[in-house]
């Protein structure tokens, strides 16, 4: 399993690996938002946490179809399915690799991007914590969606349609936690719900995604 994780991370950093894609998209959203909002710093800092969450979520979505489609096209997925590696483990590792190469960099740069959106200083810690708690759910749900659409060529649109509704709870609690932190309110409840969402998806979705993959490989 470690070998698969390391390979996926290595592939992401090689040419055409798509490592910078999500990050670049996130940067574009953050750079353009102040232009769209206009010269109202007060308004900008009020919507900063929501915009950062939305940007991170869409950036995550952008690279989901790579999780299984590339391995399916070059035949690796068939070979991995015959390897002594449980399909559930394969899905979990793939989701983890997606989180490490896509979501984790977004979490790391989020304070900097918060600065660009004039996020109030007390909002930084809750924002980072909310992204850390919530992005595993985004990667896991995304891996499930990618498993559902793996046999379909150009399945990106279908994947987005399937995955976006499932992302809504994570977005609600994540943005709520970041907003409460920004306003100096107590954010324990959304933090717990967010952590629960991530734990729940990590516990259940590998099994669902593995079942779906087995059907799609037939």
């Amino acid at each position: 399993m470690t070998a698969l994780l390391l390979r996926d991370i290595r592939l992401a950093f090689r040419a055409t690996g798509g490592f910078g894609l999500a990050l670049a998209f996130f940067l574009i959203v953050v750079v353009l938002t102040p232009f769209a909002v206009g010269s109202q710093t007060e308004l900008l800092s009020r919507i900063a946490s929501g915009m950062l969450w939305l940007g991170a979520l869409l950036a995550c979505l952008l690279s989901l179809d790579r999780i299984f489609a590339l391995d399916f096209e070059d035949g690796s997925l068939d070979l991995l399915a015959t390897a002594p590696l449980p399909m559930e483990g394969l899905v979990a590792v793939k989701a983890l690799a997606h989180w490490v190469t896509t979501a984790l960099p977004l979490v790391v740069v989020s304070p900097l991007f918060g600065l660009m959106l004039s996020l109030p200083s007390e909002g930084f810690l809750p924002l980072i914590v909310s992204l850390l708690l919530g992005t595993p759910a985004l990667s896991m749900i995304g891996a499930f969606g990618a498993a559902l659409t793996v046999g379909i060529r150009r399945g990106g649109l279908l994947l987005s349609l399937l995955v976006l509704p499932l992302y809504v709870p994570t977005l609600i609690f994540g943005a709520e936690m970041a907003r409460r932190g920004m306003d100096g309110q107590d954010y324990t409840t959304p933090a717990l719900l967010l952590a629960g969402l991530s734990c729940g998806t990590i516990a259940l979705l590998p099994f669902a995604a593995a079942a779906v993959l087995r059907v799609n490989l037939r």
Partner: protein, 206 residues
């Protein structure tokens, strides 16, 4: 010792039955050739044997985790080098040491080249070298000699013969004759499902 056997196996592709009453027994050290025209179901049968899809009916006897499958695609990552690709598969199958496989398939001089820069024949050789690092007993080979030149077909036959001598076995779907003594042949033409006589529509519509 028996490595794999099939009893009254029938297989389907996309809900459409292709082959029925497939019976064979593959002992250690033996190889079986699957023969038949395009579209008869050689690949589907191999995928069933590899456990990638369930049979329609019948029974398959095999020890778990004993097969290594080579399909039409080689499963190579074009941005990884030859040795990185091979080392990845070796560690997935819990094996170490890729040098023997590289040398056997004349890939040592290419080992630091990205797999994307290889020719079709070189890619195939790397795909076949993967078999040697799986440590599996039963090789399921779907058109293994495609894009190999005559020299490399001989090279591959030698590797296959050594594998059989070491107690392994192989099932090969190929249109080319493979020069191995005592290779059994299974002609799939006679096992084709006559679609006129089978009511497959009922299940296909489910």
């Amino acid at each position: 010792m028996m490595n794999l056997s099939a009893h009254e196996l029938s297989v389907a592709r996309g809900g459409l039955p292709l082959l029925q009453s497939v019976n064979f027994r593959l002992d250690a050290g033996r190889a079986l050739m699957l023969r038949g025209p395009n579209g008869i179901g050689k690949t589907t049968l191999l995928r069933v044997l590899a456990g990638l899809q369930p049979p329609l009916s019948g029974r398959l006897e095999t020890t778990s985790d004993s097969v290594a499958y080579v399909g039409h695609a080689d499963g190579l990552k074009s941005t990884l080098t030859v040795s990185e690709n091979l080392a990845f598969w070796a560690s997935i199958f819990g094996q170490t040491g890729i040098q023997a496989a590289l040398e056997r398939f004349n890939l040592t001089s290419l080992q630091n080249r990205p797999a994307g820069m290889l020719s079709a024949g070189q890619k195939r050789r790397l795909g076949l070298a993967r078999l040697m690092v799986t440590g599996r007993k039963v090789w399921l080979l779907d058109e293994p000699t495609v894009s190999l030149d005559a020299t490399n077909v001989v090279l591959f036959t030698d590797v296959l013969r050594d594998h059989l001598d070491a107690g392994g076995s192989a099932i090969i779907a190929s249109h080319l004759d493979i020069a191995i003594d005592g290779i059994e042949k299974l002609d799939l033409t006679t096992l084709r499902v006559d679609l006129e006589t089978v009511d497959f529509l009922g299940e296909a519509l489910l």
